[in-house]
């Protein structure tokens, strides 16, 4: 059988700016194929080209054996394709109800009415939208918008669905449901799916994937083979002296970071013996004698390893070394004493209502000096509203907040001097240069002239922006822009820093570098940092976490304690790689393992007694002649944690149905 999609040497430019650089891609019938990579890597362009809605400069694109090289030829395959563009629910019609939206998509594609009704019921049932069929789309939660988008894309039973970032900004439960539905439909309707994502942790969901970066494909194939292609090791070690040696570790190994009291060190393209020897030697030099656990890297680290290699190649003959080139810690020589127990941010039953709608519902937490506190949640969960109340931009309906012992209610101006704030959009002046931006922000925050020069110099050093002083902020790459915005927010040396989704749109390497700076800020200068994000993998960097869902905090604690808590309650995650995953899944479900879910070619399930369950599964599968390739035991991920808390929380609520307008 010929492949559904066959792309050779495809290139695409926007006004001479290359977006896709000569890529190859083959997608076989019946698989879920992933395009993974940061924003701006070229994924969307490829998807639009394949959906026949975007033209390209060179290469060959075949979909269902039709060469797509003109508007006419593209029309020929459109009846067999479903395309969902990027942006959650943005392609839907806000004023129309769920049902009207679905009907529009069906009628546009000439689905006969009887067939439409049957299909609609089936899909609404599967996505649990039936009860809300008359609700206008604009009043749906993010997760429901995503599901409606999926239903609309599937209503004409396409043979190929192209879904552009369907999971971005959606809560973990909706994300899991989405994958369940998609894999069900792919299995039962012989559909092929091409899905893009910027979440590296979703890579395991795909049977095959292409890893995109700057318009090129850095790796292609099964997740496991990609993992095998990068040799790398992770070491973790608890130690109190982390701060003293982290700088040295960073210059020696590819990556070294501090998460709470745990050090995490990663090395690529080295042997395990070398890594272990070097690391232990270095630790001994500093008189640290702790046990170090060394294990092979996981898929997410493998992607970062590939990026390292790529950057190295670009820089030339191995001169480039990430760790050496930028060493955030070195810019923080002055380490003032600070009281680790001082509560810098206090939220006490903060609530905010907009009419009938409760955006934030009695949220309480403390952030101490030197702590990185992560506020997690989907779009519309109330994160930004909470931050706005704590920065004094919005008055709480109930409750109160304090910033380093000054009440928000009484001392507005005083508080503004104490805090730094960086918003999602970075709020830089794009037509001003790096230096002009820094100068302007310094003046806005009232930094004394004598001090400003010194502070600007510091900010340039910290963000490695020395070579870009006269570059316009608008023409900087996202990573540098982000660090410039951070520098602007820190010019007046605030003791409290608020970051509202600061890493959206930044590539993984840039994110890593950003986090190094944040950790150094907190640990060395005692800045209390409150950060919001919807990247679960970033949450691992935080000392403390709070997960928000529908305005409420549903879980909090340190990342590791949360994961261990779930491991105690639900057990470990068993990951099993099998020959025929679809069949295996059905077999297992029929034999009483109802909680199994599909991750690419792997099957996952929770178990408190993993060894015993594994034996049972082996028996069941071998009786159906399905071979097991390998098995792994893993600690539940933060994603699992949050799904668990959201679900247990939802049961407590009388009306779990989200009926809300995003703030």
């Amino acid at each position: 059988m010929s492949p559904v999609i066959e792309v050779k040497q495809l290139s695409k430019c926007y006004k001479k700016q290359p977006a896709v650089k000569s890529i190859d891609l083959t997608v076989k019938s019946g698989e879920i194929y992933g395009l993974i990579g940061p924003d701006g890597a070229g994924k969307s362009s490829v998807m639009q080209i394949l959906a026949g809605v975007l033209s390209y400069e060179s290469g060959e694109v075949k979909v269902f054996d039709h060469i797509l090289d003109s508007e006419m030829s593209a029309e020929a395959v459109k009846s067999r394709i479903g395309f969902m563009p990027q942006g959650l629910g943005l392609n839907l019609y806000p004023e129309l109800s769920i049902e009207e939206n679905i009907n529009f998509f069906a009628d546009l594609r000439d689905v006969p009415v009887a067939e439409r009704e049957a299909r609609k019921l089936q899909l609404m049932d599967m996505t649990q939208l039936t009860a809300f069929r008359d609700r206008p789309m604009k009043n749906l939660s993010g997760g429901m918008k995503q599901k409606l988008g999926l239903v609309c894309t599937l209503i004409h039973k396409p043979e190929l669905v192209i879904l552009d970032e369907p999971t971005t900004g959606v809560d973990p439960v909706s994300r899991r449901d989405f994958w369940e539905i998609l894999s069900y439909l792919v299995r039962h309707e012989h559909m092929t799916a091409l899905v893009s994502t910027s979440y590296m942790d979703e890579a395991e969901r795909f049977q095959n994937l292409s890893f995109f970066y700057e318009g090129s494909v850095l790796a292609q194939g099964e997740p496991d083979s990609i993992l095998d292609s990068v040799e790398g090791w992770v070491a973790e070690c608890d130690c109190e002296e982390g701060l003293n040696i982290i700088g040295e570790l960073q210059s020696k190994f590819s990556q070294a970071e501090l998460i709470g009291k745990t050090m995490r060190i990663v090395a690529y393209d080295v042997t395990q013996e070398w890594f272990e020897g070097e690391l232990l030697g270095l630790l001994q030099q500093h008189g640290v004698s702790k046990t170090v656990e060394i294990r092979p890297i996981e898929l997410e680290d493998a992607f970062i390893g590939m990026l390292h290699r790529w950057e190295k190649q670009k820089a030339g003959d191995g001169e480039f070394d990430f760790g050496q080139q930028d060493n955030a810690v070195n810019h923080f020589d002055e380490s003032p004493e600070f009281d680790r127990n001082a509560v810098m941010i206090e939220a006490n039953e903060l609530s905010r209502h907009f009419g009938d709608f409760v955006a934030v519902d009695e949220v309480s937490f403390n952030v101490r000096a030197g702590e990185v506190f992560g506020l997690l949640g989907a779009n519309g969960a109330g994160k930004s509203t909470a931050i706005k109340m704590l920065t004094g931009l919005l008055k709480p309906t109930h409750g109160f907040g304090q910033i380093s012992q000054s009440s928000l209610e009484r001392s507005g101006r005083e508080i503004k001097q104490k805090i730094g704030y960086m918003s999602q959009s970075f709020s830089l002046y794009e037509d001003l240069t790096v230096h002009e931006n820094l100068k302007l922000y310094g003046q806005i925050y009232g930094v004394p002239k004598s001090r400003l020069k010194q502070r600007i110099h510091w900010a340039l050093q910290m963000g490695s922006l020395q070579d870009e002083i006269d570059t316009l902020a608008g023409s900087l790459p996202m990573g540098l822009r982000q660090r410039l915005a951070l520098g602007c927010a820190l010019l007046h040396e605030p003791k409290v820093l608020f970051l509202d989704e600061p890493t959206s749109g930044v590539d993984p390497l840039g994110r890593l570098q950003f986090w190094e700076i944040l950790v150094a800020l907190a640990k060395l200068k005692g800045v209390a940092i409150l950060i919001t994000t919807h990247y679960m993998s970033e949450a691992e960097h935080c000392d403390q976490l709070a997960l928000m869902q529908a305005g409420k905090v549903v879980a909090n604690g340190s990342p590791i304690s949360l994961r261990e808590h779930i491991a105690d309650e639900l057990g470990m995650v068993l990951s099993i790689k099998v020959d025929y995953p679809y069949q295996a899944l059905d077999v297992l479900r029929k034999n009483g393992f109802e909680q199994v879910s599909l991750f690419g070619r792997r099957i996952h399930l929770f178990s408190l007694v993993p060894d015993r369950i594994l034996n049972q599964i082996k028996k069941v599968l071998s009786s159906h002649e399905i071979e097991i390739h390998d098995t792994r035991k893993m600690l539940p991920s933060l994603e699992d944690v949050f799904i668990h808390f959201i679900e247990t929380h939802a049961e407590e609520l009388p009306d779990a149905s989200p009926s809300r307008v995003a703030s």
């Binding site: 975007l54 459109k78 563009p85 942006g87 129309l96 998509f105 546009l108 609309c152």
Partner: protein
């Protein structure tokens, strides 16, 4: 082309407009507001011109002369100044448009039978208004001269009134204005506004409708589906044609009732032509929206692109016959002129099919061309 798919697109559009109350009220309120503001505001009548007088003579005769201005409805007397230097600052501040300077010895010279020079100082910035003011001044002045003459003839020659009139003004004018008997600018500009407003409002409304989909991303549903270009364009444009036609009827009713314009022509012709005209103006909006990407650009381009030709090159301000060759050609290329012919013809001139038929036909042609180009230029597989 399949009617069911056109209907699908059109119904979706209607539902969206209907539920978005802000957009809906804009769609119907803006044309009405524009009609009121522009209809009354663009009136060309020059009345109540503010002025001050500088009377160096301050005699019985000079006061009599001045009173002719004060009593006129065309002038608005703002007081007396002792010297020109006090009056000129008022002109600079835009508080007055005209200064009347009566020289010393006005009465003395008149009684001695000598010529006197009075100086009207007129603000020349508004050339059209200035000329009109000069006209008013001349006729008041001439009237004063005649009165002096009359008094003299009566006193010195003992002539009766009839003989005096025959001597002074042997030829009199009995002017009759055709089509706009009262020479009310409301009649002509008021009804002409139907043409201008119904060029601008539907174009902007339609342009926003399509670009909104481009901005939100829902246009991808169309790109990726099997709906054809013509089905989409026609389905998308139809609701706006209907809304605009309703608006045009409302504006016509306003012209009849609010501006008191009579309707003397053929109602059927007027309705047919109007429908074709809104098809043209929505077509212009559609064409713009296919070429641009943002709502701001769409609104600005359609606004300027329809307002300037609609005002300057339609015959609304200047008759097409007296335009320069270039402007004249443009006027013939745009639908505005033909619609103005139809509006004025139907309301004021009482014309019907024999006189206006060609105009209706040309509008139909325009509509076809605009829709055709829109369908031809619309791409379901874009470059960026």
């Amino acid at each position: 082309m399949k009617w069911s798919r056109i209907k699908t697109v059109a119904i979706k559009e209607v539902l969206e407009i209907w539920r978005d109350k802000l957009y809906l009220s804009m769609a119907f309120l803006i044309p009405v507001l524009m009609m009121i503001v522009l209809g009354f505001g663009m009136s060309m009548d020059v009345e109540k011109i503010p002025f001050v007088a500088v009377d160096y003579d301050n005699s019985e005769q000079s006061r009599d002369y001045l009173h002719r201005y004060i009593d006129s409805r065309y002038f608005d007397y703002k007081g007396m100044k002792a010297h020109e230097s006090q009056a000129e600052p008022l002109m600079i501040q835009n508080k007055i448009r005209f200064i009347l300077v009566i020289p010393p010895g006005f009465q003395e010279k008149l009684l001695a039978g000598k010529r006197v020079q009075v100086q009207p100082v007129i603000d020349g910035l508004f050339t059209y208004q200035s000329k009109v003011v000069r006209g008013y001044v001349s006729s008041i002045n001439a009237d004063f001269n005649q009165q002096l003459m009359r008094q003299w003839l009566k006193k010195k020659r003992g002539m009766n009134d009839n003989d005096i009139e025959a001597l002074l003004a042997p030829v009199t004018l009995e002017t009759r204005y055709l089509f706009n008997e009262k020479l009310s600018s409301l009649w002509s500009t008021g009804s002409g506004m139907i043409m201008l407003v119904m060029l601008m409002a539907p174009a902007v409304l339609t342009a926003l409708g399509v670009v909104r989909e481009k901005e939100s991303g829902s246009i991808f549903n169309i790109y990726a589906s099997t709906v054809s270009r013509s089905e989409f364009i026609i389905g998308k444009i139809l609701p706006y044609v209907v809304i605009s036609f309703v608006n045009l009827l409302v504006l016509s009713w306003m012209a009849l009732v609010m501006f008191g314009v009579p309707f003397k022509g053929d109602p059927v012709l007027y309705l047919v032509a109007s429908l074709l005209y809104v098809a043209c103006s929505t077509g212009i909006g559609m064409l713009v929206s296919i070429l641009v990407k943002t709502q701001a650009a769409a609104a600005l381009i359609t606004m300027l692109g329809t307002m300037i030709p609609g005002m300057m090159m339609s015959g609304l301000m200047i008759p097409v016959n007296s335009m320069e060759a270039g402007a004249k050609m443009e006027a013939h290329l745009l639908p505005a002129m033909y619609q103005l012919n139809i509006v004025w013809g139907s309301f004021l001139k009482g014309q019907g099919w024999p006189e206006l038929g060609t105009n209706v036909l040309i509008l139909a042609l325009h509509a076809c061309v605009l829709w055709g180009i829109s369908i031809w230029r619309f791409r379901k597989r874009v470059k960026a």
